[in-house]
């Protein structure tokens, strides 16, 4: 069952970055093969304080600072995973995944297949991506689509503290290479989550309806989920009820939940911070029309930034990124 819908009075608010720490801590206690490596994950506790306390609790063998060598230490993690550890690997910014594509795509994703099933590669890699912080062209990218294009990987995108907690814990327990794409703009956001040491897991591969509605289905990922929810709220005041679907895992994609929602709304908007061409939105639209070309009663829409690098200037990044207002106005246009 989808546990993240359960709410409990004892739930306490937790910050997105602390959800990371807590997921790691609980899983490291649970399984001594879980180790954490990356740049500044150790004594310093991470650039966003996301690994604070883990070094002193688990020691230098299990929590280890790496030099700046994304390709090298990702490949190292793969080798460690093949031989019995379950490494968690931090890549500071999603943009730096460009430095370790080979170990992810040609090693981690293919080794089990190439080696006739002799090994598994239980690595959880997490990184902070997306925009909203005026971090400029090399520190704001959303690259989920690249990894969705590669068999042998799983890709998750937690859109809240609770999802971060539940998805990361499931990722660490998964026997595959799971890439967890976090949003920088959500780092300080908080949300009530189940108490510590409750077995709170969100299953990989299951979308969540974050809000129900009959008029338009908005599929949103990462930080765009909050924006979609905000838009939904204001639209509701205008008598338009939108359904917000958060895939949570973008590979493998839970298309069934999306199709089910569309069978009701028959209108589709996909919102993401990633570029449009060959993105998650294209994939969702393609699957929908392949399944049933009559399902949609009007043209689907991808709401994404224009096809340009992420600009630094706040005034430009504001125009560049989708937000609640733009989502609401797209919905209005679609409904008129």
């Amino acid at each position: 069952m989808n546990q993240s819908n359960q709410k409990d009075k004892k739930d306490k608010p937790l910050k997105y970055y602390s959800a990371v720490t807590r997921a790691f801590r609980e899983e490291m206690i649970r399984n001594e093969n879980v180790v954490l490596i990356g740049e500044d994950v150790g004594e310093s506790g991470g650039i966003f304080a996301q690994t604070k306390g883990l070094f002193s609790e688990f020691g230098p063998d299990r929590v280890r600072d790496t030099p700046i060598a994304e390709a090298g230490f990702t490949s190292l993690a793969v080798g460690a995973a093949m031989t019995g550890l379950r490494p968690i690997v931090e890549i500071g910014f999603e943009d730096f995944l460009t430095a370790c594509m080979d170990p992810i795509v040609n090693q981690a994703a293919k080794l089990r297949y190439m080696l006739g099933g002799q090994v598994k590669v239980p690595v959880t890699m997490y990184t902070f991506g997306s925009g909203g912080l005026n971090a400029g062209p090399q520190h704001s990218q959303s690259l989920a689509a690249w990894f969705s294009h590669v068999p042998g990987l799983k890709v998750v995108m937690p859109s809240s503290a609770k999802d971060a907690l539940g998805l990361l814990k499931s990722s660490i327990r998964d026997d595959n290479f799971v890439l967890c794409l976090m949003c920088k703009s959500l780092i300080g956001s908080r949300e009530p989550v189940p108490q510590e040491n409750t077995e709170f897991l969100i299953p990989l591969g299951k979308a969540e309806i974050k809000r129900s509605g009959e008029d338009v289905t908005i599929v949103a990922v990462g930080a765009m989920v909050r924006q979609a929810l905000a838009a939904s709220k204001s639209l509701s005041g205008e008598g338009i009820e939108t359904e917000v679907v958060d895939p949570r895992t973008v590979s493998p994609l839970d298309i069934d939940t999306i199709l089910e929602s569309l069978s009701k709304t028959r209108r589709l908007i996909v919102v993401h911070e990633a570029m449009s061409p060959c993105g998650i939105g294209a994939e969702i639209i393609a699957q929908v029309v392949e399944t049933d070309p009559q399902l949609l009663e009007c043209a689907p829409l991808r709401l994404t930034p224009p096809f340009a690098p992420s600009p630094f200037a706040p005034c430009l990044e504001k125009i560049y990124l989708p937000d609640a207002e733009k989502i609401a106005s797209s919905v209005r246009t679609m409904m008129s």
Binding site: E43, S44, I47, P67, D95, H139, A308, P311, A313
Partner: protein, 320 residues
């Protein structure tokens, strides 16, 4: 010590102050919310930038890092267009689209600060390759940190430069930290310069707080690499006063490292160790510092009074 004219000495002094004041101002403007995004300062490391760049010709190239304000200013970039870029204004070097990590002024050989650790080295090799093929006599200098020395592209660049005898200087600013972790998390030997032998070229370690030592080392290296003798690695030991980024709480520093009295100040050192020999009077020093201050004030004034980029700029220059 290498001999230099009084004009050059004043230029050095003024540049040291221009960088220091530019960055302290940026720090202030960042704290009060005027400058957005992430900013990495090189306060304390000015002697590296100034010593290295003033030993190069105007048409020589440099490539820089996320911590690049000093390098850019020292090579001749304009403080006004830089500060405007930091503020995300249309008059900035990148028209507000790049920010602090992407300052470039190709007209003075600055091929760009760069947000990706390690890329400065192979990019500089590219500029050096152009110079070699076109026989222009130019050279390139790549700034990078000791943290970057662990990155694959830096190794690949050094190996290629050695094989191709490229006219390039690898200039490592060893400021004792990479992000939040100390030197020995990143480098397994006392000196990064030890790497050079493995490629068969010269590697030296120098005092990066001594602008004159930096200057003369780069001058000597530049003349060798310009003659086609292949690359040289210079490692300058220096000190980063501020955090990795502005706002960094620097919890990783111990008490003595936090004490401002324990800071090594390259500007003070220049003034106390060299002013006399170089015949700079207290008045000279004061007036060159004032000149620097004026440049920085103008830069701030220019940046703050500039316009935000128009939305049309968002889609410009994506392709040529």
């Amino acid at each position: 010590m290498v001999e230099i004219s009084k004009t050059k000495a004043l230029e050095i002094h003024c540049k040291l102050w221009e960088i220091r004041l530019f960055e302290l101002k940026a720090s202030e403007l960042y704290k009060d919310g005027t400058l957005p995004g992430f900013i990495h300062l090189s306060v304390g490391q000015e002697a590296c930038a100034v010593g290295a760049c003033l030993a190069l010709n105007r048409d020589d190239f440099i490539t820089s890092t996320h911590r690049g304000h000093g390098h850019c200013l020292a090579k001749g970039a304009d403080a006004k267009a830089m500060m405007a870029e930091l503020a995300g204004k249309e008059t900035g070097y990148s028209k507000g689209r790049g920010g602090s990590m992407h300052i470039a002024d190709v007209s003075v050989g600055v091929l760009g600060a760069n947000g990706i650790v390690g890329q400065s080295a192979p990019l500089a090799c590219g500029a050096a390759y152009t110079a070699q093929v076109k026989k222009t006599g130019q050279i390139a200098l790549a700034f990078f940190g000791e943290g970057a020395s662990g990155a694959g592209p830096v190794h690949e660049a050094m190996n290629i430069a050695a094989l191709w005898k490229l006219p390039v200087i690898f200039f490592c600013e060893c400021n004792r930290y990479a992000e939040l972790s100390p030197f020995d998390v990143h480098v397994s030997v006392p000196n990064v310069s030890a790497r050079a032998k493995g490629y068969g070229f010269e590697g030296v370690t120098i005092d990066g707080s001594d602008v004159m030592e930096v200057y003369s080392s780069v001058l000597k290296a530049a003349s060798k690499v310009r003659q086609g003798m292949g690359p040289i690695l210079i490692e300058a030991k220096t000190h980063r006063w501020h955090g990795h980024y502005e706002g960094d709480p620097m919890n990783y520093l111990d008490r003595s490292e936090r004490d401002p009295d324990n800071r090594i100040d390259p500007i003070q050192r220049f003034e106390s160790d060299f002013a006399e020999t170089l015949e700079l009077s207290p008045d000279d020093l004061l007036s060159s510092k004032k000149k620097a201050l004026a440049l920085v004030d103008q830069a701030v004034e220019f940046a703050l009074s500039s316009e935000n980029p128009s939305s049309a700029l968002m889609m410009e220059d994506v392709l040529s």
